[in-house]
Amino acid sequence: MYPHKILLIMKLTIFLLIIAALQVSAAGYGQKINLSERNAPLEKIFREIKKQSGYRFFYEDALLQQAKKVDINVRNASIEEVLDLCLSYQNLAYAIVDKTIAIKRKDELLYTTSVPAPMPQIEVTGIITSSDGKPLVGVSVTVKGQAGGTYTGENGRFSINVPVGSILSFSYVGYDVKNLTVKNAGDVNIVLEQMNTSLTDVVVIGYGTQKKATITGSLSTVTGKEILKSPSSNISNSLVGRLTGLSAVQRSGQPGNNEALINIRGSATYNNNAAIVIVDGVERSSFGDIDPNEIETITVLKDAASTAVFGIKGANGVIVITTKTGREGKPRISYSGNVSMQSYTGIPKAMSAYDNAFYINEANRNDALPETWGQDELQKFKDGSDPLGYPDINWFDYITRKSYPQTQHNINVSGGTKVVKYFASVGYLFEDGIFKEFESPYGFRTTPSYSRYNFRSNVDFNLSKNLQVGVRLGGKLGKRYQPAGLQSGSGSFSYDNIEAMISRVLQTPSFAYPVMLPDGRIAQNPNVGTNIWNPLAVITRWGTREDESNTLESTFNLNYKLDGITKGLSFKTVLGYDSYFSSTTRRNATWAAYVVDRVTKNVTLSPDRPRDEPLSGLITSTGGLINSNLQTGFNYDRTFNEHNVTGLVLFTRQLIKQPGSGFAASPRASQGVVMRTAYNYKKRYFAEFNAAYNGSEQFAPGNQYGFFPAVSAGWTLSNEKFLKDIPWLSNLKIRGSYGLVGNDKIGGGLFYFLENYSVITGGLSTDPVYSRPNTGVQFGLPNSIVNYQVAAQTTFGNPAITWESGTKRNIGVEGSFFKNALSFTFDLFDEKRVDILTTRQSGLQTYGQAYPVLNIGEVYNKGYEIELNFQHRTGPVNYGLVTQVSFARNKIISRDEPLGRPEYLKQEGKPVGQFFGYLTDGFYTSQADIDASPVNMLGKPIPGDLKYKDYDGNGLIDANDIAPIGYSRTPEYIFSFAPSVSYKGVSFSMLFQGVTNVSSDVILSEQNNGQQMYEFQKERWTPETAATATWPALHSKGNPYISYRLNDFILQDASYLKIRNAELSWNIPQVWLSKTKISGLRVFISGQNLHTWTKYKMYLDPENINLSNTDFSKQSIYPTARVYNFGVNIQL
């Protein structure tokens, strides 16, 4: 085995060695050889010498084949004597270097006369680790100036034989190259530094990859390693603060339903502003449920140059996810396990029963109503002497728990040979929920939860020199569980989800009723308010809902090099086939509740919950999707001297089939051609042209296709001669792009170009009952009605409907200094989005039916992004700081608003989602103040109500005084800074992240059904506390309409700064593991959403809002989790 290996190395390095070897003056080495051969080939002689002396031979096979056979008979001869005898009459010379004998043709000596003295060859071994002490497997070890080399094996070990003085070069993807001059044999330990934004990096772009140094568009990337720092169950929540230009708002914390609202560079449309998601080259519906361990990188494509290839779909930006592939080497098994405790980031602080009752009396007095509670009753609340009649229950505390677990496990194996590389992964996630586990008489769990199984198998084959084939399969099984009430017929006012459960808890006041009667019957009291159902009964006796979703995403790749036609050309095809299946299963029950009279303690059946009913049968609904995707075309990449040219032409096609009826049953389709051509000269001047000609089923035949081109250019100044020699400047580049992209997700519906009449049968509505135009109409006797179908125009198409198109401009500067210790990226962008699909607002209703929609909206969006990255190492200490700032602000230019609408009431000229409300001018201080102020048409104010400004100056406070206030729900500024430090195997990193210029209209007040009040309301206005009040005077329920109309006092500044993430990890030193099979062991503790600084008043996480059940109060939200995590990562 050894000779072969050495021969192999020899062949690879022969030229240099020979040159070196033949310079050795052949001094005696004192080895004695005995030989007696006749007519023997030289090989045989050499074999014998090796056997007796241990000296090895290096030579070219061809050399010996030409050599003459040898007769020899010697005893106790030196090696030199033997060699002289054998070679003297042949045209061969030899040299001995460190027990190695090199054979060479004599005449080549001529070339070597001036070569410096040769070095003896030695074996160098060692371990290569990353700066955090983790062994690196698969690091390429080469000798400078020679071909070939070796790789590190398991444990990061390598071994190589080289002459003394040669330079070993260690390189590994994502790490800086390190060089080492060999001085002596033996162990060396090499630490490779991870590169930051190294220019040799290859980054993922649309339909391919590109060297970062040659990029002329704007994009940002985060690696799977960074994402793994966040112990969030949904990776969309791990991205915030790590990618410039990306906003991710975590709206809810519900297990399995906590995906962030993501947008890229703010919003340039008031219609759908969702970015498209590409996973492994294929458009997919979402990415949040991918196991983070499967992810290699996530890249966000932002400007026209990088998104133009997506043409009609690219305008809102693109999120590109790449999953891991195997590397050559033995199977590497990696296990990671995480155990987390979650807690909520905020829960409304409800007043106690006594406080609540006390303030309700005050609210009644304010509205000249009799007090609800007598003094004796207040006393009972206060001293708790009558818990049955006058209970004090903090329902949120009663129902929820402070901590709830989450676990995540992943095991993956990767490896490969020259022919096949593989990565296979299985993951499991379990996330538990905020409700305590109560015993349900129907036997179901009262805690919402989510469990998810992920698997992925990525296999790549090099079938021949020219043919590569890859198969990637990714799957997910998710099961979301929640206790849930009835699904309501009327849309969002439905109790079959967790927000509805929480709304019931939130509205049940602390004074309402005891949890149970002493005998265990459920207490309730309809007198407290509408639908104030016992929260315990709500979560233990109302039923369940289970949402299952199964996903299988498969991707097949084929690459075929067509160097035969022309060098650098290759054929590529990608086929994606995904199937999604989802089902929802509900079961419902109900309960008997009992009212206990506060005074007499008489128990009666509650009229709104008169009886127990057991769990119903399964109520199931299913859904699904099949998505097929094909891309096929040619790649070209070739360098001519200093000119580098790349090109891409790709045909793309996508078909999404979905179940449904009518329009919704139609598949969604798109197809087109993608092209890219890039040119650079001397890696200094870059030019690129990207374009797509593609279309979508959304538009009328003949109007389906559009052409979306983008040009971009870059100039790497640091590669110019005049900057080349500045030692502190590593890289400086200016780049810019300009182009057109489209968005075909123009509205909620389909086929806006169609006009259609339908015959409609239905129309027996129950609530509200008044007739709806374009539904069936009823005649006949009321007790035996006949439903007559009607014919009506149901769609009002505009055949000229087209996509939104955005003209994007981007200018970027990037640079790095002091050997990349400090680097920055700066991008300045704007976009004008036109042809936004807009419902006519300026058309008079005397027209008598809906106007066809028009492409007349316009939005202008602009902003900038800055990233500063500092990394430094002093001795064993590594430290760094990454800082990011993103800003985006948009303005609606045109939305077809009525011309006569006053400017300040128009959305035009303001950002998408701008809040409108009254401007406040403090509180009314007295009745005299009210009398002296403009007449308030909204109601009859009392002192302590918010005083609104008469914005239009007509002497009345009315709806014309509404003006823009605050911002929108989408933050304009997103910033983060992430310090990190590591010492040997110990690393610590943090991510601080914040947003500003953002508003939230979530409000907690006494105006809920149960009149539950909150702690901060104690700071309400009263004549005595007028000077210090921070909240308006309290009102009885049904009197909310002055102070709680949306206004600039109620609208909250939802800016925040969070410790979004922190991680402390320790790589167990290698020596401790040397006796085990474990090659790497890392333990870490981490946390997510650890702390929030905010001015936001409503106790909750300022990011949270209930958007899923808009008929419930906006604060009926499932709070975001704060996660404390312990994790371990084992490499075998």
């Binding site: 005649f779 007790n783 009607v790 014919a791």
Partner: protein
């Protein structure tokens, strides 16, 4: 060898580009029907026509889905929980009345757009009428009559609320400039009358059982009666032109003279029977289950409702006369006992109002604090100690599978008698026919109120007619518009609103004291509010051509 390679390349090229099918994107389902197909088929054309009915205003509790009736804007009732659609009408911020979108039929923006949508359907149908290859089965004459009737009805709903409106005399294209000025009230009325002239000869007197509910000759005459009464009223007849009153009286008389309709003997179930000799036209609707309207609006939470927000006022209750004397309770000789306020009253009080101790669903209403139907300062219970009996049919009980009819009555005969009495009294004074009409209503078998005293002056008679109308048609969507046309809002609506305080004494007796309702239930009605504002956005859209009503 080379040629094989080229074949491979050619093949790759082919699968790349040949798969670019041109029709790959043509995924739209074939259009079901075009307008041409609709009007080329008599069945489809008749179905197109039927859709016009869906544009009529056909429910009482139509504001904010099911949370408000016009009576709450008027003096009939208040809203217990400050319902936004009512509050905006009672505090004079009418522009905000339609602020909540979604499923609602609010009285300004929604009525405006719904009426014009219906007018478009009728215009289109009438334009295409003669091109449809009708067969006798479709009864084209009747359809034509229905279209004229519905168009007239919709214009009436518009001018009742807004005064003169732009007349859409044909179907507009979407790219046409339709920024037209408003026509006058008289011009609109002329359209209504002309449409009714055309409709009457085409409409039948009655239908078979499966078409009951369609427009009849009687309905057309009833609409004419109502339209002319409104046109003769002070709001639209400042000069008090008597000819207008005469025309209104004649229109009512014309319907009375048909002798098809008569009063139903019972009053309490006037909205709850499938057919009635009194019904001229109703919205046909099956028996209701307990729906949002009842649960969230009409029913007492103590009797299974969720929110009892329809709370009649003391002001309204006080309008019911004493049964024996036939006198108003304000008359010292009426026999009214403030501590037995509901005894010996006009029987229609019990038919329209649920008051304390009234028998109901086998129990009695408990309106004292802590009683099952009232809790102090709790907005889900009545704010006035009254619920509306008329809007809460007795069979509905929570969690008991009860259904009952609650018809929306477009026209019933009692209204025509009242219309006649009012118009005739104005036109010629309180003659015998006026007495006859009013007394006919008072003499309804189950009501049996004493006849009006002889010798009333015209003014006295006017007051009695208005009072009779308020009582007889309570909660039936009349009072608010009557007040507007009488320009009586400042005198009736902008007055203190009262409720009743009920105390249950230890001996089981009750003490009653009318109390002023809290400030948020008091109402604003300024002198320009007799007409609604044109929806503000419509004004904004117009280039100064569509003009707003004065005051708004």
């Amino acid at each position: 060898m080379k040629s094989i390679n080229y074949h491979i390349y050619l093949f790759l090229l082919l699968i790349t580009f040949a798969s670019c099918k041109n029709d790959f994107l043509d995924r739209a389902p074939s259009v079901n029907l075009t307008e041409e197909q609709i009007f080329a088929n008599p069945v489809l054309a008749s179905q197109y026509a039927d859709n016009a009915y869906n544009h009529l205003i056909d429910e009482y509790a139509r504001f904010n889905a099911h949370r408000g009736i016009t009576g709450q804007a008027a003096d009939e009732a208040v809203t217990g929980n400050g319902e936004v659609s009512i509050r905006t009408l009672t505090n004079g911020t009418y522009h905000d009345h339609y602020e909540r979108g979604g499923a609602s039929l609010n009285d300004i923006g929604d009525v405006w757009s719904r009426s014009y949508a219906g007018i478009r359907v009728t215009n289109n149908m009438l334009e295409k009428m003669d091109k449809v290859p009708w067969t006798t089965n479709q009864e084209p004459a009747r359809i034509k009559g229905e279209m004229y009737f519905i168009r007239a009805f919709l214009y009436f709903e518009l001018i009742k609320r807004f005064g003169g409106v732009p007349i859409a005399d044909r179907v507009y294209r979407f790219d046409e400039d339709i920024d037209f000025p408003r026509n006058t009230y008289e011009e609109c009325l002329a359209v209504i009358l002309s449409d009714l002239d055309k409709a009457e000869p085409l409409l039948p007197e009655d239908y078979n059982n499966s078409n009951y509910g369609r427009a009849t000759l009687g309905a057309a005459k009833a609409l004419r009666s109502r339209a002319l009464l409104f046109a003769a009223s002070k709001l639209n007849n400042e000069a008090n032109v008597l000819a207008k009153w005469q025309a209104a009286a004649a229109a009512a008389k014309s319907l009375m003279d048909l002798n098809i309709y008569s009063l139903q003997p019972t009053y309490n179930d006037i909205l709850n029977v499938p057919t009635s000799p009194e019904y001229i036209m109703i919205k046909v609707r099956g028996p209701r289950t307990i729906d949002g309207f009842l649960l969230d609006f009409a029913m007492s939470p103590g009797s299974g409702g969720a929110q009892g927000q329809l709370n009649p006022t003391q002001n309204h209750v006080d309008l019911y006369e004493m049964k024996t004397t036939g006198k108003a309770i304000t008359d010292p000789t009426s026999g009214y006992n403030p501590q037995l306020p509901y005894a010996n009253r006009d029987p229609r009080l019990a038919g329209n109002i649920l008051y304390n101790d009234a028998p109901w669903q086998g129990l009695k209403m408990q309106m004292w604090n802590g009683g099952k139907d009232y809790v102090t300062a709790n907005v889900t219970y009545t704010a006035t100690r009254y619920y509306s009996r008329k809007m809460w049919p007795e069979p509905y009980k929570r969690n008991v599978a009860g259904t009952a009819l609650l018809n929306y009555v477009f026209f019933r005969y009692a209204e025509i008698l009242l219309n006649y009495a009012e118009a005739q009294n104005e036109a010629v004074g309180p003659d015998a026919s006026v007495y006859a009409a009013i007394n006919q209503i008072r003499a309804r078998a189950s009501v049996a109120m004493p006849a009006l005293p002889a010798g009333l002056t015209q003014d006295q008679m006017r007051a009695r007619i208005r009072n009779e109308r308020a009582v007889e048609l309570a909660f039936e969507d009349f009072r608010w518009y009557d007040i507007m046309r009488w320009k009586a809002g400042p005198a009736i609506v902008a007055q203190p609103m009262y409720g009743m305080d009920v105390v249950r004494n230890n001996n089981g007796s009750f003490t009653y004291n009318p109390v002023l309702l809290p400030a948020n239930m008091q109402k604003v009605y300024l002198d320009y509010m007799h007409r609604y504002p044109i929806p503000r956005n419509e004004i904004y859209k117009s280039k100064g051509i569509l003009l707003q009503n004065p005051g708004w």
